[in-house]
Symmetry: C2
Subunit: 212 residues, 2 copies
């Protein structure tokens, strides 16, 4: 193994083992054996097990920065919310371990929660809340909508859809082929829920065709 | 300790340790030491560590059966959905460990997922989907609503609100005092999202007063 290969192998093995058993459930010996790298290599590249965990976590949550692209894409809050729903499904599709780190850090935070996870989630929620507040100012969303609570509802819809997969696969198919349908269904529910009476008819008409 | 006290102590200690570190992250020795009970008592009452974990899991998910009371309470789908939102917040308030078992079993299922967790979640989602389908048949909800996807959106809104607490406490207060406001906000969003045009005005008027 070259040095770069060794570092990548440690990240890969660490991602899988930490996702399955958490920071405290994995020993440095297991990491070293699974990656076929010496313990001193873990120290050299990451400063130890905690450093490797923190590097894995940074890699998992790096994609949250892409919310900036959604913010910069325009001024239409509905289009930005649609982009958020699609992007969130895509983040989980691209990264099957993300939800494990996400939920385990939120329910049993490690010392890296406050430096890595909380800022990543807080940034996305904050930007979405700004988008919803813009929509309220533009008169497109209801004045009585609480922006942060509404955004948590939106994030919850999309993340829980993915989270619930194992418990609901007898009820529906969670095939990625249906993701685009789901984007439009969830956009219709959320928009119906927060839009002012007038523009709401507009979005229902615009997105209705994609519903089942 | 009496026998009943010993059994309860083991359940209490097991709930806390398993919630924090999962089935595989806790040894039978730690359980025995933390509960001040012998390993043979764990075997006697639960047949071993796995049996104790399974008993803890059953206790955690027993409250999901209360969905039957919501189903039996009437025929108004909107009132039933409101009751579901309130009950779900309450389940988390009453039981601070529930979300850890819930998310860890969905992302890293143990052998007890299929016998305990999946049936409990599947039952709630199934009954809610029946309620939404009744609403569609009654003409109150839109015909193009996919009942299961809509119900996952609803469950996601409420569960994620609680799950996100640690990452969003700088943005909003998650005080239980605001739960009743949240019930009405989330009911308004969900109902706005799935109701037919006519009854929607009705629900907005009925619940609007509780929004901020």
């Amino acid at each position: 193994m070259t040095k770069a290969e060794c570092r990548n192998k440690l990240l890969e093995v660490g991602t899988q083992l930490f996702a399955e058993r958490g920071l405290h459930g994995v020993s440095i010996r297991e990491l070293s054996q699974s990656a076929e790298a010496s313990i001193s290599m873990i120290s050299y590249y990451f400063g130890g097990k905690e450093g490797l965990y923190s590097a894995v976590l940074k890699e998992q949550f790096a994609c949250f920065d892409e919310i900036e692209e959604i913010r910069q894409q325009g001024t239409d809050p509905v289009a930005m919310i649609e982009a958020y729903i699609r992007w969130t499904l895509q983040r989980h599709r691209n990264n099957p371990y993300l939800l494990r780190f996400y939920t385990s850090e939120l329910t049993n935070p490690t010392p890296y929660f406050h430096s890595i996870v909380s800022p990543a989630i807080g940034k996305v929620i904050g930007i979405l809340a700004d988008i919803v507040e813009d929509g309220i100012r533009q008169g497109r969303f209801r004045k009585d909508v609480n922006a942060v609570n509404a955004v948590l509802a939106l994030a919850g819809m999309v993340n829980y859809y993915v989270l619930s997969t194992l418990a609901t696969e007898h009820l529906i198919t969670h095939s990625p082929d249906l993701d685009e349908q789901l984007v439009h269904q969830y956009l219709a529910i959320f928009m119906g829920g927060i839009m002012s009476a007038e523009p709401q008819a507009e979005i229902t008409a615009a997105s209705g065709s994609a519903d089942e």
